[in-house]
Amino acid sequence: MTAAVAERLGRLGRFLWSGWAGLAGLALFAAVWQAGHERFGAFILPAPLATLAAGRTIAGDPASWALAATTTLRALEGFALAGLAGTLGGIAAGYSPATMRLARPILTVLLGVPPIAWIVLAMIWFGSTNGTIITSIVVASTPVVFVGVAEGALTRDRGLDDMARAFGAGPLARLTTLGLRHIAAFLFPALTVALGSAFKVAVMAELLANTGGIGGALAMARANLDVAEALAWVLIAVGGLILVEYALVHPVRAEFERWREAARPWGVKR
């Protein structure tokens, strides 16, 4: 028991320690940004510190928290729907070649239509409501999850399936104990990408459909030609995404991928 807790703490420590590398990357980005600021002036590109100050002002206002919460909620709702639909569809396609053959061309069409076109269509169908945002997210994110999950279901180890059958496992037991576990390794990277695009599409759709949230605030900042505030909102959106990814997606994935960690030789752990 204590050993398990110690191992878990060790992994958490390694994970936090790897944050230094991330900080170094961000510092480099800020340096390039600062250089751009000094070259083009404060109106075109405000300094990183000025943007941070604007961000602090925004963060100090409870009304902006409500805006950010609106966007986050919409993004998460769309993401949950896309994740569910993509996972179920992907499993069906991975296990049934006929479904896969039918789904392939539909996916190509869905992926070929640019997200902006979907937003316009959704605006016509739903007007300036939550429905527009969520529909856009679902259409943009579902194919990513679907393809990842179908890939996982297709590459499952049939030898393991035979082994389970030899020990008396029915189709359902094989799906829950082998199939889903294998698919999870493909599902998580796909979910990470889907979550990112959910936030991006949410902000874009809010801006275009004028439905409040971070996108609405960005539209306002643009109308006022307030570049520092626009950048600050972008920072907040990116920050929210990073928070969700590192607080939710990464820990769950780490739990599933412990055996890969074991396969890695010493010294090259992340």
Partner: protein, 250 residues
């Protein structure tokens, strides 16, 4: 003695190509039968059919045993589970509670000479021999009265192979399970089995059988070498045993 496994007129084909036809074989309780034959004669398919992994095209399988375990040519371990959880996997399929699974998996691991320190490791951290030990422990964990071995030690080196054979011989005597042991190594067959059945080179039934004197584990090496040499030089039944056609080998 009542038959624990009876294969009656089994036949199978892959994509229209017949690999097995009219196979009849009966095993008594506690009896270990080695099934030998040239590569590609369908002996693996036979074991898969008998174990219920593959549905036969013709004939039927009568199983008189309570439950069986199986050891494959590759270990076929779940890469994401520790050795302990791999051994407990069939118990999980049976729906046993977690605590009991753990106790029984550790007992089976001890029987396969796995040390407690190895049980927390993942398959990638184990050597080939250790992985096969885990696979054997997994088959023993459900306390089977019948075990299928499908060329389990083909990929191991000679010394390791002997150790694994001794493990199987010891377990079969202690747990009194009957077994169908597929192999193409006649020496291996003579060491572990009570009886050797030879599959016809084209899968047309069982070509013949030879009983091996004595009890597995008590036969001297010298006697076994002489026996195998006699089989290979003088016995027409074993004439085609080392024929190989890579194209058909599976």
């Amino acid at each position: 003695m009542a038959a624990v496994l009876a294969l009656k007129g089994l036949g199978h084909a892959y994509l229209g190509r017949t690999v097995l036809d009219a196979v009849d074989l009966t095993l008594a309780a506690g009896e270990v039968v080695a099934l030998v034959g040239p590569s590609g004669c369908g002996k693996s398919t036979l074991a898969h059919i008998a174990a219920g992994v593959v549905e036969p095209l013709r004939g039927r399988v009568e199983r008189g045993y309570r439950r069986h375990g199986m050891v494959f040519q590759e270990p076929r371990l779940l890469p994401w589970a520790t050795a302990r959880d791999n051994i407990a996997y069939p118990l999980r399929l049976q729906g046993l509670p977690r605590g009991e699974r753990r106790v029984r998996a550790e007992a089976a691991a001890a029987r396969a000479a796995l040390e407690p320190a190895d049980l927390g490791k993942y398959p990638v951290e184990l050597s080939g021999g250790m992985r096969q030990r885990v696979a054997i422990a997994r088959a023993l964990a459900i306390e089977p009265d019948f075990v299928y071995f499908d060329e389990p030690f083909t990929a191991l080196d000679v010394a390791l192979k002997r150790r694994m054979q001794d493990l199987v011989i010891g377990a079969a005597r202690a747990l009194r399970f009957a077994a169908l042991f597929i192999t193409h190594d006649l020496m291996e067959a003579a060491r572990v089995a009570h009886r050797i059945a030879v599959v016809d080179a084209h899968g047309r039934g069982i070509a013949g059988e030879r009983a091996v004197e004595g009890t597995p584990g008590e036969r001297g090496d010298g006697d076994l070498y002489r026996l195998v040499a006699t089989f290979l030089t003088d016995d027409p039944l074993f004439r085609h045993i080392h024929d190989i056609d890579e194209r058909r080998a599976s």
